[in-house]
Amino acid sequence: MASRVTEIASRLYDACLERFEADHLFYQQDLLALDVIPKGEIDLLLKCAQSLVDQKLFRLLQGANNRLAWKIISRDDAEKLQSLSPDESLVYNVIHSSGRSGVWVRNIQSRTNLHKSILDRCVKSLESKNYIKSVHNVKYPTRKMYMLAGLAPSEDITGGAWFTDGVLDSTFINALAGVIEYKVSTQSWYEVPAADRGRSKRIKTATGMAEVKSESEKTFLPYPANYSGYPTIEWITTEVNKSGVTPVRLGEDSVIQLVQMLCFDKKLVSLNNGLNYKAVKNPVVVKAGFNRKPAAEEEAGSPILGLGKNGMTEAPCGSCPNIRLCSPGAAISPETCEYFDPWYEKVLGF
């Protein structure tokens, strides 16, 4: 009898594996419909199902209308599960059920009713077996959360494409932003063909561009106002995904986020109510901008790639740390100021 059950159960499992997808939820009638159980014996079916559940090949679930339902578990996973202690198995199931959202340790505890020390041990053991992993939730950075090791965390908890381990990945963002700006720029400016260049006048279209241009010998012209070839979000998304900078495919939403950020940087501007985007600087200037220094460290003579300077950014008093205290005749005064001499040195060379 037992061996018969085992045998039929095994056939049932194989049939399920064949017929149903891994994540399919099936009910009693689904199993009967497989024609594995002789004469559709309910009793036998239940025994087989229980056997499979015991072997961790089936997972027993509550389906719609409180009916019993099952899902299959792959043999590999079943092996894993079989090696677990009952407590561990309990914990594993809770974590498994949370899917890609992950579950907070405290919620595992409340659902399993395990003592904290036991729970800790289980989690540690599962983690060491590499069955589960801890994940970082952007929304609740302090919570300890877990999910199955094989799953990729959902955008809800990672914060979208821009987070790596719950931390905003600025290197990635900047690299991608650079790619976008450059790609858009190539479409926003007309590069005068090399043959025409000799005759065309030296045209300086942006501050500091003259110097940059002389090195590269490229001339760029703006397009007329009714030019319609400025990139769209769709185009940018395709280009970004083609570029190979991003390991995962980026959706348009993520690209929009990035493009808007670039608009706040005044690197791109939106035209036609956000239908098209135009790069403010031409490709050569964009490239030069990649390794520009912060404005505060810019040295005399270097081309101005930022917003430029004004009186307050140039006068020694403009950003002086002492300006609030400075007053003629006081301890800190224009007469005793020590900052002017280095300033003369820097500006005048003596």
């Binding site: 005399a300 300077k309 950014t313 403009g318 002492n322 301890a331 820097k346 500006v347």
Partner: protein
């Protein structure tokens, strides 16, 4: 930092007391430097346009300096009255008259108003300044049918006795703040002393004129002498006198 830190830190009772809240850290007992490290900004070289603007500015400024109006309050010179504050401030290295001194730029202590080849548009000036801008002004003559209401009392309070004037000022000064009294005296001393400069003498000439023809436009002063309650009240309550710096 250290003091607050010591209070807050939950040190075990009986632990050795130390001011250093952050052992191993840089002790902040050193006085804050007056001029903390500050990377001074660099500035663009002046463009041609800016250089030209600066040159124009300096040129006009120089014209003002050379012009008849530029005047200073104090030129410490050895000619100051003995014992006066100016004398005490006398600079033995620069104050001594010297041969090359005759080329030295002279500093006026009073704007030269008359006889500088300018005619003043009298109507734009208040009446009480007419004697200043017009050395030949006769205050008693009626102008525009308007008879100087001022030519009545206080005729004597002209320029003829600046000494009195000065005393007066001094008296009033003691009533108010008096820390700068010495300086003020020096200024006036300077003035009274007069300069040996020819141009000064010309001014003095005008001044003589003033003296003769001075209208009694000082009754206004008398009017106020008794009226300290007028202080700061301009009678208009507009509250915004001179506060138009935002106008344009």
């Amino acid at each position: 930092m250290s003091r607050f830190g010591a209070k807050k830190g939950n040190r075990a009772p009986g632990a050795e007391f130390t001011w250093d809240a952050d052992p191993g850290g840089v002790p902040d007992t050193a006085p804050t430097p007056l001029y903390p490290a500050y990377v001074v900004p660099w500035a663009r070289k002046l463009s041609e346009k800016e250089q030209s603007e600066v040159n124009h500015y300096r040129h006009l400024r120089e014209r003002f300096h050379e012009g008849p109006y530029y005047s200073v309050l104090d030129t410490s010179s050895s000619s100051a009255k003995k014992g006066s504050a100016a004398r005490a401030n006398f600079d033995p290295f620069h104050g001594m008259p010297s041969y090359s001194g005759r080329y030295q730029k002279k500093r006026r202590t009073l704007p030269k108003i008359a006889n500088i080849g300018r005619e003043y548009e009298t109507r734009y000036f208040p009446r009480e300044l007419w004697p200043t801008i017009m050395p030949n002004f006769r205050p008693n003559a009626s102008i525009d049918g308007f008879h100087a209401q001022t030519a009545l009392a206080g005729m004597k309070r002209g320029f003829e006795d600046d000494e009195d004037e000065e005393d007066d000022t001094a008296k009033r000064r003691t009533a108010g703040a008096d820390e700068d009294e010495g300086e003020g005296d020096a200024d006036e001393g300077e003035l009274l002393e007069g300069d040996e400069e020819a141009e000064e003498e010309i001014v003095d000439d005008d001044f003589e004129d003033d003296e003769d023809d001075m209208g009694g436009d000082y009754n206004a002063e008398q009017y106020f002498d008794g009226g300290d309650d007028e202080f700061g009240d301009d009678g208009f309550g507009d509250g915004g006198g001179g506060g138009d710096e935002d106008t344009y």
